[in-house]
């Protein structure tokens, strides 16, 4: 994307300046904003919950009063959009997905550019240069660095080793093997062979990997390419898999249902977020009989989806300096090391290589597989879940609708892609 090259240059220079300013770091005082208040709008996903759980440590360290406003992802965004549209200062810091709303919010001017903060009050041990470059680039728009990365995540294939063994099956080595393996699982086991997201708005997160691995691309020459052969093949493969081998009611499935189904031992393969690792392993039942891998490659190679949540300061914040302290604390090597031990994949290589984290990974093969799969995502992945346009969030709905209508049998793949193309080209033209 155009924003990435320009952005990375701007950010790289900012990081260099930040690292070349030891004097500012030496003057740094965690209690410089003691007694001030910062309001944090959080997503109540596992990452947001961890930030909230460690809130007291931040308050004890800085003396800053952290007011938390926590919602589920969709409600959090709706509240944020209301607050931002009203140019309200109610929110100082918020969680954001640069891959989804980054371009839209940056164009609207809702993010505070963090480059000047990286050049100012930075803790000596913050190590801004240690943040994953790919995630930093993904959070950079027109040279503005809009959010510090908090994690790295993507959809992974969780599968039951005991069931595969019982059925004499090997894990898929290619995307096209999934229907055959699912059919074999259906024959020899009572479990749902394959589960993934079916809820229209949530589908692109898991579908994008299928689309890229089949050799597709959402846009070609500035136009929607939903009716290109690779994308149509991906729509057919994904929806047929769920229609023939997915759980009943999969059309309403998002991560909550997938986690509940897999944790309860009712699905043999589940393609879902790496962030759900701790939720799936809750209770320990799946710890011994699960293996994890990235989505297998397809005719177009291997281009798994990889994204990361970030923490941003509102452009309307009246207390951005204190808010920056919260961002630093949450993305510091120390805190990210703590989060890593709770199943949040760290966006810092140094944390991923730490002895403590590696000891935690070594306690169970499935943890190591989870980490290795994420490392591959970081190496080869793409964050293109929706269309690379300002209206990215809206584009996801049309992608999900196309998959959903084929899944429900209300349209053929040609009808579904044509409907999507029409809506998406209109959206591209509008923005």
């Amino acid at each position: 994307m155009a924003n990435e090259s320009a952005g990375s240059m701007g950010l790289t220079s900012a990081l260099l300046v930040a690292m070349a300013l030891p004097a500012a770091a030496q003057d740094f005082d965690w209690r410089a904003h003691e007694g001030e208040t910062v309001t944090f709008l959080a997503n109540s996903n596992p990452l947001g919950q961890l930030l909230i759980a460690h809130k007291d440590e931040f308050e004890a360290l800085t003396g800053i009063n952290l007011v938390v406003d926590s919602y589920q992802e969709q409600q959090m965004r709706q509240r944020l959009m209301t607050v931002m549209n009203a140019r309200s200062d109610e929110v100082d810091v918020f969680m954001t997905l640069p891959s989804r709303e980054g371009m839209q919010f940056a164009t609207a001017g809702w993010y505070k550019d963090l480059n000047p903060y990286l050049e100012g009050a930075v803790a000596p041990d913050y190590d801004a240069g240690g943040l994953a470059e790919a995630l930093v680039d993904a959070a950079t728009f027109d040279g503005q660095f809009i959010g510090v990365p908090l994690n790295i995540e993507g959809p992974l294939l969780y599968y039951r080793t005991d069931v595969f063994e019982e059925c004499g099956l090997q894990p898929p080595s290619a995307l096209q093997e999934l229907p055959e393996i699912s059919a074999a699982l259906k024959e020899c086991s009572d479990l749902t062979p394959f589960a993934s997201r079916g809820l229209a708005a949530a589908v692109p997160y898991t579908f994008a990997g299928f689309m890229h691995n089949m050799g597709g691309s959402y846009m070609v020459d500035g136009q929607s390419a939903m009716c290109s052969e690779p994308v149509k093949a991906a729509i057919t493969l994904y929806s047929d898999l769920l229609k023939e081998h997915g759980p009943p009611g999969v059309v309403n499935y998002s991560f909550q249902q997938l986690t509940a189904l897999y944790r309860a031992g009712r699905s043999a393969m589940s393609f879902e977020s790496s962030n759900e690792f701790s939720g799936i392993m809750e209770g320990g039942e799946r710890m011994e009989d699960t293996a994890i891998m990235p989505l297998p490659p397809g005719p177009g190679g291997s281009h798994p989806t990889v994204i990361g949540w970030a923490l941003s300061i509102s452009a309307h914040s009246r207390n951005p300096d204190a808010a920056w302290y919260f961002l630093q604390w949450a993305s510091s090597p120390q805190m990210q090391a703590k989060f890593a031990l709770e199943g949040i994949a760290p966006p810092r290589e140094a944390v991923a290589e730490s002895a403590e984290y590696n000891a935690w990974l070594g306690e169970s093969p499935v943890r190591q597989q989870w980490h290795d799969a994420l490392a591959e995502l970081a190496r080869t992945g793409t964050s293109e879940i929706g269309f690379p346009i300002v209206g990215n969030p809206e584009s996801r709905q049309y992608i999900g609708d196309a998959v959903g209508s084929v899944l429900l049998g209300t349209a053929t793949v040609d009808q579904a892609c044509a409907t999507a193309d029409a809506a998406l080209n209109e959206l591209i033209a509008r923005d």
Binding site: P247, P248, G249, V251, N252, V390, P393, L408
Partner: protein, 289 residues
């Protein structure tokens, strides 16, 4: 006369702040929404045009007409079920005068529950893989259902949940109406030896009509702006089959940030609600006794 005039003037002056505040609170959001409905916004919330584009887009939008259809379908289905069952429940409660208080409380408990909680509860019960509903069906040897994930039955299932929640409310209103009916007409019917079903159809129901229309008005306003239950359970899916106009407008406005188009949709919905209320109020005036 002069004193009266002076007194009236004082009253008007004293009530003016409250009056201005109330009118402003009601009028401002409506006027503001109408104004927004004539503006076109970009995906970043910037105004990029002005005029009637949102309304012409609405007429050509299949999802708008789908929203109108789903709203009306859900409204009629829920209202009929709630009126029939609510009247039945009220008659039961009216006759069972010695029903313990705890039983009466249990009957009316669903509508005390916040719709979001009710939605979450039914979402768990109706989960096709892990829910209790399919467990019961399969235990009885019946095929499982996709419930809220089935395009064919999603609206009836939503109407069923809403009926479960709001029938007791209708029953309470009808029970109030039953308790206010004049006993003399029933005594006369008893003397004439009228059978029970005739007493119901010829006396009770006609006399209850004003109460039933009141219940219809109250439920109509809620049902036409049906939101929370759908938002929690299906978000308008599967395949837009439960996408009421209200849910559609909300998603357009707060997820896709097309505030102008969302405003046009909400103005249309408001006109629908207003029209229904005016029609039902006229009906109430016609059946008043």
């Amino acid at each position: 006369m002069n004193v009266n005039r002076e007194h009236r003037g004082q009253m008007a002056a004293m009530s003016m702040p409250a009056l201005v505040f109330t009118v402003a609170m009601i009028a401002f959001p409506i006027i503001y929404t109408i104004w927004m409905s004539f503006q076109t916004y970009s995906s970043t919330g910037q105004v990029i045009g002005w005029g009637g584009d949102n309304y012409s887009r609405m007429v050509a939008d299949d999802r708008f007409w789908n929203g109108i259809w789903v709203t009306i379908y859900l409204y009629v289905l829920s209202l009929v079920m709630q009126l029939v069952l609510g009247t039945g429940l009220a008659l039961l409660l009216f006759r069972a005068r010695r029903l313990p208080g705890i039983m009466r409380s249990l009957f009316i408990s669903p509508f005390m529950m916040p719709p979001v909680v009710a939605g979450m509860m039914w979402l768990v019960i109706l989960d096709p893989s892990l829910g209790a509903a399919n467990w019961i069906l399969t235990s009885l040897g019946l095929p499982p259902s996709s419930w809220l994930a089935s395009p064919a039955i999603v609206v009836p299932v939503l109407a069923m949940i809403d009926t479960w929640q709001w029938t007791p409310y209708v029953a309470l209103i009808v029970l109030g109406g039953l308790q206010s009916l004049p006993p003399s007409v029933y005594e006369a019917a008893e003397i004439d030896g009228a059978p029970r079903h005739k007493v119901f159809w010829r006396i009770t129901l006609p006399l209850l009509l004003p109460t039933l229309v009141t219940a219809m008005v109250l439920r109509s306003v809620d049902l036409l702006r049906f939101f929370d239950l759908i938002y929690i359970t299906t978000q308008g899916g599967p395949s837009d089959r439960s996408m009421t106009l209200n849910i559609y407008g909300f998603r357009i406005g707060f997820e896709f940030f097309q505030l102008g188009y969302a405003s046009a949709l909400m103005i249309t919905l408001s006109i629908m609600v207003l029209g229904a209320v005016i029609a039902l109020n006229r009906l109430r005036a016609a059946v008043e006794w």
